[in-house]
């Protein structure tokens, strides 16, 4: 795991999140939300493209964003499992987004001062974008959690279901050398701020903060949930049929 692996990890988080969010298009509870989720998906996809393109350059093996996205096997994907979980109902999607975007926002804000200037520039753009994602998710968390009884019940269940997967966000997967060199951020250092943002978002939404217990992981080592294979089959199928074709 080196700078390439680090960039790919961040890029895969964004790519897989974008893929899941795009599944909502034409399926959202209201038109405004079709627009909003597509917007967020576009931001995440944009971040993925910048990160994977840069990773490919760093690698210097002639790959590009598309060969990384479309021609790696499941075991080579480095995203956290949180992003690959199926969308579930709207509350599950909002819980996933709240947890992911809050993590990404803290991460990118810190990476703005990365010694890797290219990464710092990507992070600067992404910090602004993810601020909106956090706000949007937090608003919906309140609307669902502090709206009707059904909304509250579903939002609470969603937060409980997704919570265990947040631990992986802060796992110690980033090479210490990269952190020491000021290129990367040690994920564990992001958790305190993350918790404070998330806990207050949940509190405002009257949704209980789950206990920490089960801590699934493995995504950073390319061991994914069984949902991932189906996601990749859909994502990659067409590209894989015609290797080397331009689109």
């Amino acid at each position: 795991m080196d700078r390439f692996g680090y960039l790919v990890g961040l890029g895969d988080d964004a790519l897989v999140a974008a893929q899941r969010l795009a599944e909502w298009t034409a399926n959202a509870p209201e038109l405004e939300e079709d627009v909003a989720l597509a917007n967020i998906a576009l931001d995440q996809l944009g971040q993925a493209r910048l990160l994977l393109s840069y990773a490919a350059e760093v690698e210097g093996a002639g790959r590009d964003e598309d060969s990384l996205a479309y021609q790696r096997g499941e075991r080579e994907f480095r995203n956290c499992q949180l992003v690959e979980l199926p969308n579930g109902d709207f509350a599950v999607t909002i819980a996933k987004l709240l947890f992911l975007a809050t993590y990404q926002h803290g991460l990118y804000a810190a990476l703005r001062s990365s010694t890797d200037r290219r990464l710092a520039a990507i992070a600067a753009k992404a910090t602004k974008e993810t601020a909106y994602h956090v706000e949007h998710a937090a608003l919906w968390t309140r609307r669902l959690g502090d709206g009707t009884a059904v909304g509250h019940e579903r939002m609470t269940a969603a937060v409980e279901q997704v919570w265990p997967y947040t631990h992986e966000l802060f796992s110690d997967w980033v090479p210490h050398g990269l952190v020491a060199a000021g290129v990367a951020v040690a994920p564990g250092t992001l958790r305190a701020d993350w918790l404070s943002t998330v806990e207050s978002a949940l509190a405002e939404a009257t949704v209980p903060r789950p206990d920490d217990g089960w801590r699934p992981g493995g995504g950073r080592d390319g061991v994914h949930t069984e949902a991932m294979g189906y996601l990749l089959a859909e994502l990659q199928y067409l590209h894989r049929i015609f290797p080397g074709a331009a689109w």
Binding site: N27, R143, H152, E234, Y237
Partner: protein, 310 residues
């Protein structure tokens, strides 16, 4: 009456009727029907292309397609807003779509079978839509005309993107080229049918013309589309599936085979390949989202109560 004279004068002067102006009930009703149908078409039109969002063959194409489908949702929103200036509610219109009492463009009742269909929709379907819609930018009803100006700009962007997809495929591998040609073969006649029945059989048209909602007849617009598209097909290096296509030097137009209007009538009647699927999809999204909308409304009501000083 004064108001009638004012209305007639505004129309005659090619100026805009605005929401507060008096208008004939038939003008209002006709516009509501037309704008709603247009809005519904944008919303239903998200599905055939949305079908390829998770499977787009490059990240750049995925981003472009996602932005396009998002634009369609946005167009739907402007158009519902324009319709609301005529005294109807979006939710009411939306329920008329779901119950089948209002229509949407029949073109969206065909499936997107391959990736090239995304290109063909952009090039042909959006192309036909633009030909239909550009004159609406000068339509006599102000809010509709202004919505159309914004929409047409985005649509022409979409059309170029569709053209670009096909252009790339047509210059790609043999399979890609065949995929592009196949898509054009399947989408050509449905696109021609988008202009509606031939003038002789067209209802609504005469009055719409008089009121300057509609500016050209179905057949005039169809011809314009054919003339434009034949040129572009040449650039693409793809063939339009009509052996009768021939340039008529006398008129300066291309002669073409008319679409099968009996098929169009069938699709409008509900028997196209995807009519049920499209509406079922929207109903499912609407029903599945009911608890979400209800919770958001309850939340908003709580906040509104809190905002009232005790």
């Amino acid at each position: 009456a004064d108001v009638e004279a004012h209305f007639a004068a505004v129309i005659a002067a090619d100026q805009k009727i605005e929401p507060r102006d008096w208008m004939p009930e038939a003008y209002r009703k006709g516009l509501v029907r037309q704008i709603a149908q247009h809005a519904h078409s944008e919303i239903i039109g998200m599905q055939p292309e949305g079908n390829w969002l998770t499977r787009a063959p490059s990240l750049a194409r995925k981003a472009i397609l996602l932005a396009k489908v998002q634009d369609e949702a946005g167009h739907g929103l402007y158009l519902y807003a324009a319709a609301e200036t005529l005294g109807v509610q979006r939710d009411e219109l939306y329920r008329m779509l779901l119950s089948g009492r209002q229509k949407y463009s029949s073109i969206f009742n065909y499936p997107t079978v391959t990736w090239a269909d995304v290109g063909a929709i952009g090039w042909l379907v959006d192309g036909a839509a633009i030909v239909n819609q550009v004159p609406l930018c000068r339509c006599s009803y102000g809010p509709y005309a202004r919505a159309m100006i914004r929409i047409c700009k985005e649509e022409s962007f979409h059309q170029r993107q569709g053209f670009d997809i096909l252009y790339t495929l047509a210059r790609g591998t043999d399979e890609q080229r065949a995929m592009a040609q196949d898509a054009v073969d399947r989408w050509w006649y449905p696109s021609l049918a988008m202009f509606g029945p031939p003038d002789a059989e067209s209802t609504h048209s005469a009055r719409s013309m008089a009121w300057k909602i509609k500016r050209f007849s179905n057949d005039e617009l169809r011809q314009k589309f054919v003339d434009m598209t034949v040129q572009q097909a040449g650039v693409l290096g793809l063939t339009l599936p009509d052996d009768a296509l021939a340039y008529d030097a006398g008129s300066g137009h291309w002669r073409y085979t008319a679409p099968d209007f009996a098929e169009l009538a069938e699709v409008i009647a509900g028997n196209g390949p995807c009519n049920r699927q499209r509406i079922d999809h929207r109903r499912r999204a609407y029903d599945d989202g009911a608890w979400v909308r209800e919770s958001a409304a309850a939340y908003a009501a709580k906040r509104a109560r809190e905002a009232v000083p005790a």
